[in-house]
């Protein structure tokens, strides 16, 4: 029997939603290992939303505070998480493969002298060992990997582990972390224009390609995204990012972001292999393209053939009606 440490993520004093996924993944391991989930949140003070950790299966929620932890403090967070992991004798440590988690997890693993199974899309316990699945070669292959050293440090690809309610005590505990935030200091986050949802995290992504004809026409996709009521982000193909129509952070694909939303709508995108690499794990794919032979239709669950300039406004109108 061993417990699992779930390292959660907060921003501006609120728990981020990806943390629910981390608790869910940790719960799955803990059930298999016959142990508890202890959730660790790092911050400058109390963090709002940590009660959710109990709802998704944390037996205990530890808030570790330090005056230097208001913003992400790479070195301070890594030290605090690694020390907690060591002190608790955990069988596994689970983090998110979010922007912060991708920075934090390797540091924690190295401090523990343990390997990191990064960006996993599935995890289980087989014969007492943690076994994970992780996409490699830009999603063109899947690697099944056994972690032979412990504690197993694992980071979870966002949007893959659907949060499952598994109410546990969620007993709260606060500890003060000595020392400072470390040598690397985060001054703040310059919000992207519109403070929009990130494509890597949005449950719905509406992406546009060269078929949009010019940058101003992305307004059509922004309106469609808005119609989904704050759940959708606008993504882009590399062709339009390279052309300077959209910021690089919106690019979906091999050299952009990998997204796994529940709904991906590809508008005026041909479906090149490098684009598919970034979105083929979406739960449902819809394609709108005037060319019935466009490769995007090969991976799309549902397609509409025709002119996007007629179809998208109609779709926006219908979605608005639906969401009333």
């Amino acid at each position: 029997m061993s417990h699992v440490l779930a390292v959660l993520e907060q921003r501006d004093g609120s728990l981020r939603k990806v943390s629910h996924e981390v608790v869910t993944g940790a719960r799955r391991l803990a059930d298999a290992l016959g142990g508890e989930v202890h959730a660790l949140v790092l911050g400058a003070g109390a963090i709002s939303g940590t009660d959710a950790a109990g709802r998704f299966g944390a037996d205990k929620v530890i808030t570790a505070t330090n005056a230097g932890f208001a913003q992400y403090a790479p070195e301070g967070y890594a030290r605090a998480a690694a020390e907690r992991a060591k002190a608790g004798g955990y069988g596994a440590v689970v983090l998110a493969a979010s922007a912060q988690g991708k920075d934090l997890a390797p540091r924690v693993a190295a401090k523990l002298g343990m390997p990191l199974a990064a960006d996993v899309t599935d995890l289980a316990v087989e014969g007492g060992a943690v076994v994970v699945t992780r996409p490699v070669y830009a999603g063109k292959a899947l690697l099944k990997v056994k972690v032979t050293a412990g504690p197993a440090v694992v980071s979870l690809r966002p949007n893959v582990f659907t949060p499952v309610e598994r109410p546990k005590a969620g007993a709260a505990e606060t500890v003060v972390v000595p020392g400072d935030g470390g040598r690397v200091v985060v001054k703040g986050i310059k919000a992207a224009a519109g403070g929009a949802l990130d494509v890597a995290e949005a449950p719905i992504v509406v992406s546009g390609g060269r078929g949009l004809k010019e940058p101003a026409n992305f307004k059509l996709l922004e309106e469609l995204a808005q119609a989904f009521g704050g759940k959708a982000a606008v993504g882009a193909s590399r062709a339009v990012v390279d052309a300077g129509w959209r910021p690089h952070g919106d690019q979906v694909g091999q050299t952009g972001k990998t997204v796994s939303p529940s709904l991906y709508v590809a508008v005026g995108i041909s479906g090149a292999i490098q684009h598919l690499a970034g979105m083929r794990t979406a739960k449902v794919i819809v394609a709108i393209n005037k060319d019935k032979d466009a490769p995007i239709f090969k991976v799309a669950d549902y397609g509409i053939v025709g002119d996007l300039f007629e179809i998208v406004p109609k779709l926006t109108e219908e979605i608005r009606k639906l969401n009333g």
Binding site: A99, P106, L116, A118, Y137, Y302, L315, L322
Partner: protein
């Protein structure tokens, strides 16, 4: 400025993946290998920093099979001064093992800056840079898309969900670089000729034991063939009905 850049030889992004007979690795017959694209940004950044400083040395280090010498030559042709190959029959799946071998080479090298790509496009481990930083106890910023260095300190910007994070740090430091930092140069013919004569040292990699064991490599499940709902705006209501009732995503 003395700068080290860790570079990896990887299968080209357009590779059609075929699984090898062992069921655990890529069948590399006919596969083209390249310098990891993010490492190209790192090499370019190192060269620019050295050029700006007017003096210094850029050392490129790769851990991998003998064939990684070609990758090192590519970086030398871009303008790096010398290369080190930490030879290993294959690169382990465990990024910490790779980081240990690189850290052993970097230790005591007196580098002002140690650069990495943010991720290798083959294993997508996204970890070796910050692990090396931990092993060497150096400050580290990952995924820098913008970098300013002056007076022994640096500021960087890195993309996070919904914005750009601004980070300050002291030098020497480990930086992993993202796309957008610069436009890598192409090696000129003169550079390619010069690269052949530049020093390239080969020594065994001190990998230690790996803590990750590959069980299997498989192709991802094919998405099942979808369907064309219809043509033009008239098909929108049918699409919505399917999304609601069949796919249940609305």
């Amino acid at each position: 400025m003395k700068i080290a850049v860790c570079i990896k030889r990887v299968a080209d992004s357009e590779t059609r993946v075929k699984i090898a007979a062992d069921g655990k690795s890529l069948d590399d017959a006919g596969v083209k290998f390249i310098l990891n694209p993010y490492d190209e940004f790192a090499v370019e950044e190192a060269l620019r920093r050295k050029e700006q400083a007017g003096a210094g040395e850029v050392v490129v280090i790769a851990c991998g099979p003998q064939t990684s010498q070609e990758t090192i030559r590519t970086a030398l042709a871009m303008g790096a001064d010398r290369g080190v190959l930490l030879e290993a029959a294959s690169v382990p799946a465990d990024g910490l093992a790779v980081a240990r071998a690189l850290a052993a080479e970097l230790q005591g090298g007196g580098y002002d800056l140690i650069l990495f790509g943010k991720v290798a496009i083959d294993d997508s481990n996204h970890q070796v840079g910050p692990m090396v930083a931990e092993l060497l106890d150096l400050p580290c910023v990952t995924c820098a898309a913008h970098l300013d260095l002056a007076g022994g300190r640096g500021t960087a910007e890195r993309e996070v969900e919904g914005g750009m994070e601004e980070v300050e740090f002291p030098l020497p430091a480990v930086i992993t670089v993202d796309k957008g930092l610069n436009e890598p140069r192409y090696p000129a013919l003169k550079g390619i000729m010069a690269a052949k004569k530049k020093p390239l040292e080969v020594k065994p990699a001190a990998l230690g034991t790996a803590g990750l064991e590959i069980v299997a490599m498989t192709l991802p499940p094919e998405r099942k063939e979808g369907r064309i709902v219809g043509e033009g705006a008239a098909a929108v209501p049918a699409l919505l009905q399917l999304l609601r009732e069949e796919a249940k995503v609305l």
